[in-house]
Amino acid sequence: MKSLTPDVMVTSLGQVGGILAVIVVAVVVLELILYFLLKKILHYRYALPFMLIAPGLVGLILLNVYPIAYELYIAFSNMNLLRFRNPSHSLAIGWENLKSVFTAPVLKQQYFFPVFLRTMLWTGIQVFFHVSLGLFLAILLNRPMKLRGLYRTLLVVPWALPQVVASLAWRGEFNFEYGFLNVMLTRIGLQAIQWKSNPFWNFTAMNITNIWLGVPFMAVILLGGLQSLSKSYYEAAEMDGARPWKQFSSITLPLIKPIMTPAIVLGVIWTFNNFNVPFFINENNLETSDILVTALFRAAFDFNRYGFSAMFAMVIFLILFGITIVYMKAVSFSPSALAGSKARETLTVGEEK
């Protein structure tokens, strides 16, 4: 094509080579500094692990700390279009913003709590279906059968497809005249559904799309879990005369809990903050289909309420954080103690004593 010449390719590779060299040098320098500091000077017991995590840590701090700090700064200001370049900052303004998040409409008419409840409902429905359908598929696939490879390949398509393509595809399917769903409904004699303009059906549409998108991921994880379960448990249970449902609830579920729990935690976080699906399926910008992150986006970019939306973002973040911590405590999930790691407490291997 006209623009892709060897010239262009060489330039871009050159630039990338340049930055790679810079990264390598920076990492080496960082490691040397840490080495001398931690090991030679301080004789720190945990010198090596810190050296290992240092490059990633530094990168994450660079990428995340400045933006978060900036947003925090803006959250305490009244920045919008009128006060674009020179907003005023103060604790009082920040407090006002915080109050407005809860007392004033966050969209044009919707207040915080309805949107929050809807977000929880959305997350709950999604995780429930992801896990149950994922487990169902995983169980079906957990057996030697012909075509298993083919099934696994095809069932992963929703996950492999870029979200842009998937959103486009599903938006088309919810079209009143031409979408697959309405065409099928009318062919069997039912009334076509107004997916785009009716609040209830639009919310349903969002859910259908995200279930389609999210089940493969969960199915794969659970299949991995199921495959690692040893048959001996079931054989022992058989011999003890345990009934089918008891086997499932006493053996299968508890044993795959260590795999399900992190998957559910991640699923909750990703679904709660899922922007693409609610945004794109909600073609008519129905406020009744907005969840917290889409409302945040509109506040920030449609209405240019930068100060307010920065505070709003903080609130959303803290809520999600709170939910995650509560859930993890409730299922006694500890990030450092994943399953089978009783041996983890005796981590040290000799030289670190």
């Binding site: 094509m1 623009s3 262009v8 871009s12 990338v16 790679l20 990264i23 090596l48 692990p49 290992l52 995590i53 490059p55 990633g56 994450l60 990428l63 978060i68 900036y70 169980i139 083919l150 069932l155 992963v156 929703p158 492999a160 497809l161 870029p162 842009v164 595809a169 399917e173 079209n175 031409y178 794969v220 991995g224 879990g225 495959q227 690692s228 379960l229 079931y234 058989e238 009934r243 089918p244 086997q247 499932f248 795959i256 795999i259 992190p262 998957a263 991640l266 976080i269 709660f272 903050n273 922007f275 920030a300 973002a313 995650t324 990030p335 994943l338 089978g340 407490e345 291997v349 670190e352």
Partner: protein, 290 residues
């Protein structure tokens, strides 16, 4: 030998499944597969439909008068190959860097119980909780101040770093399932700590490394917001930005858009299928291997 209960057989290896049950299972799976791929097939059918029409009540996957003209037009008249090239080398580079950094970091988290470890893991989790659009303006300012706008540098750094948290989680989960005795015996034989890592743990973690690479690839390949901030030149667009060019404010060349959408899905799908055998075993966020 006692006959296995139906339940046992259902939830475990299919010893002695009745043919009827097998048929039912296959039937259910086939339905699931159709549901999985149908929307993608519809996008495909738009791409080969003549006359720039995105919608049609004709449910046939292959419409009448199907033509691949849209594909040719996208490659010929738009900078499609350039976009693919840009996306491709950025994605490969950042995925590789991300996996390398994450693999060593995850080892640190897995094998040592250092102070701040739990906090660190939670902090990694927290990075997933930040609503992305909020970071747009500060990232723009940061990128401008560091002179990263319109360079590949900025994007490489940003993408590599943003994939690290999730990669660490996956890799750490996998390392946790590798018995520490293996490294211990290697060290007794004289290997250094990191030597044991390179020679024993890494090779064993190949499935997980592949999956981490796959995830990094997918997220960088599909990324849009950061690219929009950093890339302001026509020659420097990735496909996510390029695709927007085919969308007008009201009018869109739907056939071209769908053709481009199908074509950009191909690399990711291929990567998925190539690594599918590792998908199940490598994606352990934790397991029960004893």
């Amino acid at each position: 030998m006692k006959t296995k209960s139906r339940f046992y057989r259902f939830f475990n290896r299919s010893v002695g499944d009745s043919p009827a049950k097998r048929v039912v299972i296959h039937f259910v799976l086939i339905i699931a597969c159709i549901i999985s791929i149908y929307p993608a097939l519809r996008v495909f059918s738009v791409s080969i439909r003549p006359g720039n029409r995105v919608l049609s009540t004709d449910l046939a996957i292959i419409p009448a008068g199907a033509t691949f003209e849209a594909y040719a037009s996208v490659v010929r008249d738009k900078d499609f190959l350039l976009w693919i090239w840009n996306s491709f080398f950025i994605t490969i580079t950042t995925s590789a860097i991300g996996v390398i950094i994450a693999s060593t970091s995850a080892y640190g988290f897995s094998r040592w119980s250092f102070p701040g470890r739990n906090a660190g893991l939670i902090a990694l989790l927290m990075t997933q909780m930040i609503p992305a659009p909020m970071l747009m303006i500060p990232l723009y300012i940061l990128a401008y101040k560091l002179g990263l706008i319109n360079t590949w540098r900025g994007l490489v750094i940003a993408y590599s770093v943003s994939t690290i948290p999730f990669s660490i989680w996956i890799l750490k989960g996998y390392y946790d399932t590798i018995p520490i005795e293996l490294e211990q015996s290697a060290m007794i034989d004289g290997a250094s700590r990191m030597g044991a890592f390179y020679r024993i743990v890494l090779p064993l973690s190949a499935p997980s490394l592949a999956i981490a690479f796959l995830f990094n690839f997918t997220s960088a390949w599909n990324e849009f917001l950061l690219a929009r901030i950093m890339l302001q030149k026509k020659e420097m667009l990735t496909w996510t930005l390029g695709l927007r060019q085919i969308q007008g404010q009201f009018q869109t060349q739907w056939a071209e858009f769908s053709a481009a959408a199908i074509m950009i899905s191909v690399p990711v799908m291929i990567l998925f299928f190539l690594s599918s055998k590792w998908l199940v075993s490598g994606l352990t966020l934790g397991s029960v291997k004893e």
